[in-house]
Amino acid sequence: MRRLACASVVSCLSWVAGCHDPLHDQTVEALGPEVSGVPAGPLHRPGQPCVLCHDGRGPGNMVLSLAGTIYQVKDQPEPLVDAVVHVADSGGRRSVAGTNCAGNFFIQSADFEPQFPAWVWVEFGGALVPMNSPIFREGSCAVCHADPAGSRSAGQVFLSPLPITFPDSGCP
């Protein structure tokens, strides 16, 4: 009877401890609130590390393996809409995703879990731009591509280093 009681206590404590990751929670909290007028969904939080909330621990419902935001021009805020993001992993498998009106793209873990390192290309308007280096473990583009660029960040992901005219995206 005593042994059963002890096992129950240990089990309960383990359950409680496993549901709460204070470091994860603090990091999510530091991202700040949703932007007014943009509900939680595919268009929200461009430029933020998507997989942080969408890694299965919440608060994002969808579980993502790779996700991020692509911009038209280096250091400019206009998103790159309707681009195709190609991913090839070390196991020879490939996946594609498109960017939406916020420039966001995402690949669900259920569809594709890359074997790292993985290589990425952005395709738009007939141009295919490769990422300079492969991804080794991080599913969120923004972890390495935070804005602004600095000694520990490559800056936002962009298609063109120079200002060029893009076609109307048709987005509101």
């Binding site: 090839a88 594609v96 300079n132 280096s133 492969p134 991804i135 080794f136 473990r137 660029a149 490559a154």
Partner: protein, 172 residues
Amino acid sequence: MTTRSTLLAAQYITWLALLPSASACSIDDRFSLQTPPKSSFPLVSNVLNNRCGSLDCHGDPRRSVWMYNSNGMRLGDGIPGIGATTEEEYAENYVSIVMLEPEMMHTVVLEKGRAPERLTLVRKARGAEEHKGGVALVPASYADICLTSWLSGFIDEAACITDAELVPPEPP
């Protein structure tokens, strides 16, 4: 030899020309322990940088071993993805590598690189020990030979140049 390999070899030769002459097992005046040759380290660093030094791995200051490089964390005002790895960054990487386990490094170097797996650096890179980054250096590959030959004091430069970069898959 590819254009890129030629550039890396030229970079190494330039680095070598700027340093005072050093014996194969020289004692750097900063260390009281035996260390691998600093003069040939850039070749090794290039191999490690491209496999280990990305912003999401050891190009992240939260990791135990820091690797500064052109596509990872930069020293000073550098931006990842812009400009080649600098001499100062190579110097910092050298310290990072040899001072990870200085006593064991001393022993391995003193014994001409015998049993390099005694170093955690080698075990983790080979995937012989739990390593989030998986297998970075396939045992007996040119990249692995580059590192282990450097530890022996007689670096295989051809191996380092051959496997300096990861070969990406065919673009989509």
